[in-house]
């Protein structure tokens, strides 16, 4: 009799725990978001677009600007690393090329910002193609090292080609963009510019990754050989993927240059690349929302941990290691793909007989 009640108690406890688990807040939010996706998106955009009406502090708006900017940068890296499974580490180099193209074209050639924007993107995309072309046939690590080398070379060229880039003096007095005679100069104006660009990036990328091209990228990520045997031109799609990612990183650079009004090569060091990479890893690979989440978290942490200076980079590094140990796809990454395959843990049973990790 007693046993029976014990058992009953246990089962009720178990069911309570189970219901708690199934109805936790994250799941409710997730269900709600997936069911009313357009409504939620509109609400978020509306909320973001009214923020400048309530606060005029350029500090707060500046943080938001950085979040939008790095959403584009980490997102462009995510289209390369997360969607097609390439291994690019040189996004800071593309950022550098985009920013310098904008700065040079607007100060030396005095072109209109809105013409420069696509041109800077295209220049970066072409350079991305030249970086990707020789390495298309190689495995991931070679591409990683070539892109890393490219990033460093781009910075060194910017530092040493004094006649074009100003060298260590940088480029001063980059003109602010104008639209129909209205010049975008305050933090509030740039807030809207960055918001629009981030939404444009997310919209275009969401269309691209759901198209034939995006599906080809994802098939390459999951299994390149299988994709090839099913008739996907893997090298062509990988080159296209690289160009697409580089294009948006270049656009991000082009909207960054007039915001800071002065650029030099110290903005584009390898640390900047690691920063963007950590956003993508912490936020999540292979989804659109992942890099945005990463950008919000990392930029928020940056502001939060500003008093302790250098330790925040230690915190990012620890976060990267923690993510790789327990959640390699990142917080909001694609859980059903190869980026979510963990280390030994779930394969341990299969290879226990073999005993070796090979």
């Amino acid at each position: 009799m007693k046993r029976d009640s014990d058992y009953k108690e246990k089962t009720t406890l178990a069911t309570i725990i189970a219901t708690c688990k199934t109805t936790n807040i994250a799941r409710v939010v997730k269900y709600f978001v997936t069911k009313y996706q357009p409504l939620v998106l509109i609400a978020v955009v509306l909320f973001l677009s009214v923020i400048p009406l309530f606060t005029n502090k350029s500090y707060v708006l500046g943080v938001f600007c950085r979040i939008f900017l790095y959403s584009i940068l980490a997102g462009s890296l995510n289209t390369i690393n997360g969607y097609s499974g390439q291994f690019c580490l040189g996004v800071a180099g593309f950022f550098c090329v985009g920013a310098y193209s904008e700065a040079i074209l607007s100060t030396a050639v005095k072109m209109n910002f809105w013409f420069i924007l696509p041109i800077a993107g295209l220049i970066t995309a072409v350079i991305g193609l030249f970086v990707a072309l020789p390495t298309l046939k190689m495995q991931g690590i070679y591409l990683a090292i070539v892109t890393l080398g490219f990033s460093e070379i781009a910075r060194l060229v910017a530092l040493n080609w004094t006649s074009l880039t100003g060298g260590p003096m940088g480029i001063k007095g980059i003109p602010v963009p104008e639209i129909f005679g209205f010049s975008i100069r305050t933090a509030k104006h740039f807030y809207y510019l960055y918001l629009i660009m981030a939404i444009l990036f997310l919209f275009v990328t969401s269309r691209v990754v759901r198209s034939r091209i995006g599906r080809a990228w994802m098939s390459i990520r999951e299994d390149q050989l299988a994709a090839k045997s099913l008739g996907v031109f893997t090298s062509r799609y990988k080159a296209l993927n690289f160009m697409y990612g580089a294009f948006w990183a270049g656009i991000a650079g082009a909207i960054y240059a007039p915001y800071v009004r002065f650029i030099d090569s110290t903005y584009f060091t390898l640390d900047e690349g690691w920063n963007i990479l950590s956003m993508m890893i912490i936020g999540g690979q292979g989804t659109l929302i992942g890099p945005v989440v990463g950008s919000v978290i990392v930029n928020y942490l940056t502001e939060l941990l500003r008093p302790i200076g250098q330790w925040r980079l230690v915190a990012y590094a620890l976060l990267i290691i923690v993510m790789m140990w327990w959640r390699p796809q990142g917080l909001a990454g694609a859980s059903n793909s190869i980026v979510a395959v963990k280390g030994d843990t779930h394969l341990r049973k299969k290879t226990a007989a073999k005993g070796v990790g090979v």
Partner: protein, 291 residues
Amino acid sequence: MDYFLNQLINGICQGAIYALMAIGYSVVVGVVGMVTFTHGEVIMIGAFAAYYMFFLSGNQILLGLIVSFIASWILGYFVYKVCYERFFNAPRHVSLLCTIGFSMLIKNLAQIIFGPNQKPMLDVVQQNFFKIGVVQISQLQIVIIITVVIMASLLSMIFNRTKFGVMLKAVSQDKTASYLVGIDVKRIAMLGNSLGCGLGGIAGLLLAIYYQTLQATMGGPLGMKAFASSVLGGLTDVRFSALGGLCIGIIENLGITVSSASFRDMFAFGFLILVLVIRPQGFVSKKGAKV
């Protein structure tokens, strides 16, 4: 022409240090089977360990060598525990990203502990110059080259004469087969990784006394040059990696003769990219551990 010849000598000396870095790197990559980004930080820790040892002990170069080897060995143990042990079955990029995170961690901790500024290295070797015809070579360069040669021959003795070395070679060629003949693969991978890191630490010491400076952020480009050198040697072949390191050192220094010294790193990376385009498998195409 004199300048050119002197730069060639400098290049050989620098190439010898790069060769030692590359030897360590290719031992790590061969034995563990995964590429690492932490090698630059391992080199940096070796340099700093030697710096503090020289500070404490006066200029005992042998003591410095031993301490930097041990410090980098210990760091290599942690690298193995954090970045490799769990990920032998995972996709490659997981452990790669983990090594990137670990190298960020070490670099920033080092900046906090040792300070972000450049430190002047103590004068360990006297700066005497010998003149042979038009070429002049310093005592320091001779010491460096001799150290590298001794290290390389010690390593080749370990590889060819001892049981441990044979096990290292076996694990580097085929992990499953070595497990089948009774080798504790994980332990050997750990020891091999630490050995490669220790060699990197010695390279760090040599670099620090060659340039007379050391800095917490010195690791990044050095790790990439170690990688570039071992790519030239086919990533896992120790002898050809050493040759690759020598090549990169010479090309850097000859590149400086035709342009300015600020382009030093560009020549190294440009040469790497050129090699990857023309001959990605390195000097030799070799069967064995694939990366």
